[in-house]
Symmetry: C2
Subunit: 347 residues, 2 copies
């Protein structure tokens, strides 16, 4: 039997018909054993199950969903698994998917729009029940394409007012607001917001929140704009402005629009002699990206509710899949502040 099993495996895998023949029953009975066991007499069921085991039969999911008309998987496409937000999100999504008896397939578009489109199409063709997408900028065409095929898409972490679908966001305005409030509470007299490219919506929102907090407190907030939210850009900013910040009349609070920027800024500031952190300059990140935490000095940041975003996104998707009368909704979750050495230790 071992030989026999091995041989049949080497060649083509055994089909349901093979199982039926081996068990001396009809094809439909095998199907019933698998899908409606209560319809089958116990003796028959046992015989079929034994045949299945002996032949090493594996259901063909492709044929199954062809005949049955649907699959039980959903997909999550994220731009970068290196960002811990998306890892947390995938964990939440997976847990919630299993609650609903769905399997979650994860794909990373590696920050490439082309790759994102490839996966959208792949999952579209695979007839998944629906998709969760943490879209890149300019994803509209791909999203609309999938949606127009009747396949629901829930957006996560990024919204597009022109796309009409369920969305799960974190409150990036609050993110910036909390970051600024935290810095202000440590006694800084001046704020600097290091912004990324205009097109990055989360970054824009954080700026808005920070600005609001600053004006509420009557503190000046100045702006530094960079072309990319990377550690390298952060280092450049630090080198360029570090001396001026340290020389300011009052203590300066820096809000980096992402943790990678914060990392770079800290790296360069710490390399400059005579600047005390957080004495002269206090620095905050604002997206809780753990892969930026390889820092010479642990820095404060704002943590996004990644896990809950994943959970909520699956809930919305499941509702839309089931829903005859579904109305698109947007869920907004709040981030939380994470205080560390780059801002504390002084008043």
């Amino acid at each position: 039997m071992s030989d026999e099993a091995k041989q049949s495996a080497r060649a083509a895998q055994p089909s349901m018909q093979d199982v039926a023949t081996a068990a001396g029953v009809a094809l439909g009975t095998v199907s019933n054993v698998l899908n409606h066991p209560q319809r089958v007499a116990e003796s028959t069921r046992l015989r079929v199950q034994q045949a299945i085991a002996e032949l090493g039969f594996v259901r063909n999911a492709n044929a199954r969903s062809l005949a049955g008309g649907s699959t039980d998987s959903i997909a999550l496409i994220v731009p970068d698994l290196g960002n811990s937000l998306f890892v947390d999100m995938s964990k939440g999504a997976q847990a919630e998917a299993r609650e609903h008896g769905l399997s979650l397939l994860i794909a990373s578009s590696a920050d490439s729009l082309a790759e994102q489109d490839r996966y959208l199409d792949l999952f579209d063709e695979a007839r998944t029940q629906g998709m969760l997408l943490a879209p890149m900028h300019d994803s509209r065409a791909g999203i609309e394409r999938v949606r127009s095929h009747g396949r629901p898409v829930v957006l996560v972490n990024y919204s597009d007012p022109l796309i009409e679908c369920c969305t799960v966001l974190m409150d990036n305005v609050l993110d910036g607001y909390l970051a600024a409030r935290h810095l202000l509470s440590t006694g800084v007299g001046e704020l600097v917001f290091v912004a990324g490219p205009e097109r990055l919506q989360p970054v824009r929102d954080r700026q808005l929140g920070a600005t609001r907090a600053a004006s509420e407190a009557g503190v000046e907030l100045s702006l530094v704009r960079v072309d990319a939210v990377t550690a390298a850009e952060g280092r450049a900013v630090g080198s360029e402005h570090g001396a001026a910040w340290a020389a300011a009349a009052c203590r300066v609070g820096i809000i980096a629009s992402t943790d990678l920027l914060a990392l770079g800024i800290l790296q360069s500031l710490l390399a400059m002699p005579g600047i005390s952190i957080p004495g002269d300059v206090a620095v905050m990140g604002s997206d809780g990206n753990r892969s930026a935490w390889e820092s010479p000095l642990p820095f404060s940041t704002v943590e996004p509710p990644g896990y809950r975003m994943g959970v909520e996104a699956v809930r919305l998707l499941v509702e839309e899949i089931a829903g005859a009368s579904h109305e698109h909704r947007t869920t907004v979750l709040s981030p939380s502040i994470l205080e560390r050495e780059s801002t504390l230790g002084h008043r």
Copy 2:
């Protein structure tokens, strides 16, 4: 047309037959347009393509692979996407998969054997070309099941001498060896290895390497064993032994068998007054897990070659898929040392 498209999307998606009818050609011709365009006259091709666009036709990948007999995707199953090793691995695997025209599906078993089995079966039933598995301990049954169905599996990061298949490993003995050598080079006179549970092969190997380096240098290496490789256990170890380490006659070098342990140890040591790091005690991690880098003091560690492991694993898998005469191989890649403040700054 917009209405029409929307309607057909709401209901069932259009099939190839629908396209054929719309374009006034036979079913087979549509298939040819999609799969062998050069066989079709240009005028016909254009007509068909237009019909496809108008109907919003999407190939059904399930039917396709049923009829065609194969898919073009492979899967990667990892225990935890929170560990940056597996994130790097998935990036490498994805890049290499695309080189070969394959799509990579990623699944996380969330450290649950049951979940790992679920995904093994899911991908088995989905008739993927093969799987990459970073197995959990005790995975043999599931792996053998999939392999016995004729579906190749490549193991990553963990080997099992009882399972006969291609494997990609990092050299954990070298990992421990490098860590110990690095500490010795900074002038420690005594080494401590903080080991995890016996059953964790990588941890055992690191201990072996560290032991070897210690004996080569004629330095004593003592052992502390913990039940789990977590930050909490690390803190417990630090609290228990910290004072003794600091009081030792010579400078002590601590090798934690994982970065999470190192993190915990550092957290507790730094909370104890009067201990200088790396003056009295130097601490190293040894698996380069970036999610443990939220450390009060950046620590040295050994970085695994995650990306290259992903690439190599896909290569082996592709070879086995293609290979009539395939011989199982094991590729071993070397880690590299990462020096930071927890060990440097003193001689």
